[in-house]
């Protein structure tokens, strides 16, 4: 049943969100959400690990514009994940600061930050017997006090997250019985239940089959379009990034190489300089710049 229905529901949801943009009546919520969208900005960042002397990432400015999807792309080891972790205050930068809506993230209390900024790491492990629904309820952790039990708001948030991620049919299942793609959707539902203004995702589509890659990206898109959530997403596949993101940040050797809308950023020069790939780019393609890779260039 679900596959077809869900697709319809999602595509309806998306087309509603799009066609209503700028309309009056039902759009009140969406535009209110857009109005309150929050930007995340990093300034003069130098980020390193205790084991390294030199900073891994050096970056003057990096901006996730309010209410937009920004994809971080770059080859392995270019510092995309490190930058993302630092933006989420999971890794303290050696110097510089990250500002969430103007406030320094380091100064925010950890639960307060987790109510406003969500992060999904690349690899997640969960107890095998945990059900999807229980996992999603953990997303409410920053909203609950030590002694507080599950409240109506928590339930409503979890239901919304389940609906948005399309995991209704998985709700009762245990994590050990899910495929990699289903697991990822469950984890995404968990961060959705966190109901944050900003959502950072570290390679959420890596290792997934094409169907689940698209499902994940569609959920992210819907979340952004309907609720105005600012999204920062590390993507391995630059073609995917070019299709789904409003902005790209291309990283090279720990520094942003270029920044802007996909049509401006994705060029043949960028692919050879940053990714060391000989490729041709069809930037007139209606679904965003289309990349046809030919061969790997020598370093």
């Amino acid at each position: 049943m679900s596959e077809h229905e869900r697709f319809e529901r999602e595509s309806n949801g998306r087309s509603n969100g799009e066609s209503n943009a700028g309309d009056t009546a039902t759009d009140a919520d969406a535009s209110a959400a857009h109005g309150s969208a929050v930007e995340l900005r990093g300034e003069d960042l130098e980020i390193g690990y205790p084991s390294t002397d030199e900073p891994v990432v050096e970056c003057e400015t990096v901006l996730l514009p309010a209410g937009e999807v920004t994809a971080l792309v770059g080859p392995n080891g270019s510092g995309k994940s490190t930058l993302l972790k630092s933006m989420a205050n999971q890794l303290a930068p050696d110097c510089g600061q990250v500002r969430l809506d103007g406030e320094q993230v380091q100064s925010l209390e950890s639960k307060e930050l987790a109510r406003r900024l969500g992060l999904l790491s690349q690899e997640n492990e969960s107890p095998a017997s945990l059900t999807v629904e229980d996992l999603i309820y953990h997303g409410r952790y920053p909203h609950r006090g030590f002694f507080e039990s599950v409240g109506d708001e928590d339930q409503a948030a979890v239901e919304r997250a389940i609906d948005l991620a399309g995991v209704e049919d998985l709700r009762e299942k245990e994590m050990k019985n899910l495929s990699g793609g289903q697991k990822q959707l469950a984890w995404i539902a968990m961060v959705l239940a966190q109901e944050t203004d900003v959502l950072l995702l570290d390679e959420p589509t890596t290792y997934l089959d094409l169907h689940h890659q698209l499902r994940v990206m569609e959920v992210v898109r819907t979340l952004n379009r309907e609720q105005g959530v600012t999204v920062g997403i590390v993507l391995h596949d630059i073609g995917q990034a070019a299709r789904f993101a409003d902005n790209l940040v291309a990283m090279k050797d720990g520094e942003p190489y270029d920044w802007g809308p996909p049509r401006d950023v994705v060029t043949e020069e960028l692919l050879s300089e940053v990714f060391h790939v000989d490729a041709s780019v069809d930037s007139e393609s209606p679904t965003g710049p289309h990349i046809a890779p030919h061969r790997a260039l020598d370093d």
Partner: protein, 376 residues
Amino acid sequence: MSNSAVPGAESTSRVQQWLAGVDGALLSLCLGSVLVVVAGGLVQVSFGTYSMTVVEAWQAVVNPNVLLNLQAWEAFVFGADLPEMNQRSLIVWNIRLPRVFVAMLVGMNLAVSGAIFQAVTRNELASPFILGVSSGAGLLILLTLVVFSGLSAFLPLVAALGGAIAFLIVYAIAWKNGTSPVRLVLAGVIVGTIFQSLQTGLFFFAGDIGVVQSAIAWTTGSLTGTDWEQVRMALPWTALAMLLSLVSSRQLNVLLLGESTARALGMSVERVRFALSGIAVLAAAASIAVAGIVSFVGLIVPHLVRNIVGSEYKKLVVGCLFAGPALMVAADVGARLGLQVLVGASTQIPVGIVTGLIGGPYFLYLMRKQDALGEI
């Protein structure tokens, strides 16, 4: 209030689900455990060196003069003077039953302590013993018995202190920009090994064989000679530790999602981990103080319960509260009466030997059965 559970369509489904979870595996586990405890308790009160028939013993257990006598309970729980009672009641209520109660307290403390340590380190093989708590307690007990024999009256306190100190050392060694489960376990094993060498070395300085035997009873774990005084000693700490661990079950669940996820959800991982370890040390110390170092219970029981109810910590802790006492009471039946049945001798063996004999093979069985042992 937004936080009170209002019965709506969705909340009922969740309540039903919660009840279903409780109704099933957990409930049968608890009932089974209660049965084992009751059966073991009845065996314990029925047999012993003072001979009475089984019927006489059971009559003594339900003797209304004791059971409904406020003064008697005052004597048991607060240590007041015992009221008059016949000899059978005295033996059953003052010697045989308190030992069963101590076994229950020890069992639940060790089981819950192990369950918490397993979540904190995210390692199924963790227990108070792997993290150095037991060897620290054992070393200080031996030091007291052999060197500072004037302090013998404070042995339980000394044991708890030793466990806490050892754990702090382990934590300090493991700390390097925060701790990690692997570093904690490694540091625990190292500290434990050093402390055990010191313990063995101390045996050479023991003056007479009596001290050595007493020391061995402590370091293998024994319930011989425990009575209401031990119940009084362990009960408040046990109640506190059990309450805290139930309240903390959600923190434990979130810790199981891994450090990075827990932190991204806004948990102060180091602080929570340290506080939870404190609860686990408290529970372990309460049990070591009255029974010495009983091996394997803290490792096996959480494991067994997890196989039945899953790794959700509210269920797991509740399961441990019942299954721990069941294993401990049953093992103590073996320790107290085993030799009598097998060879006819009236000698008792330390209960830690029995738990080791049960626990070792059970653990081997688990290793053969499960592909991935280690990570929860």
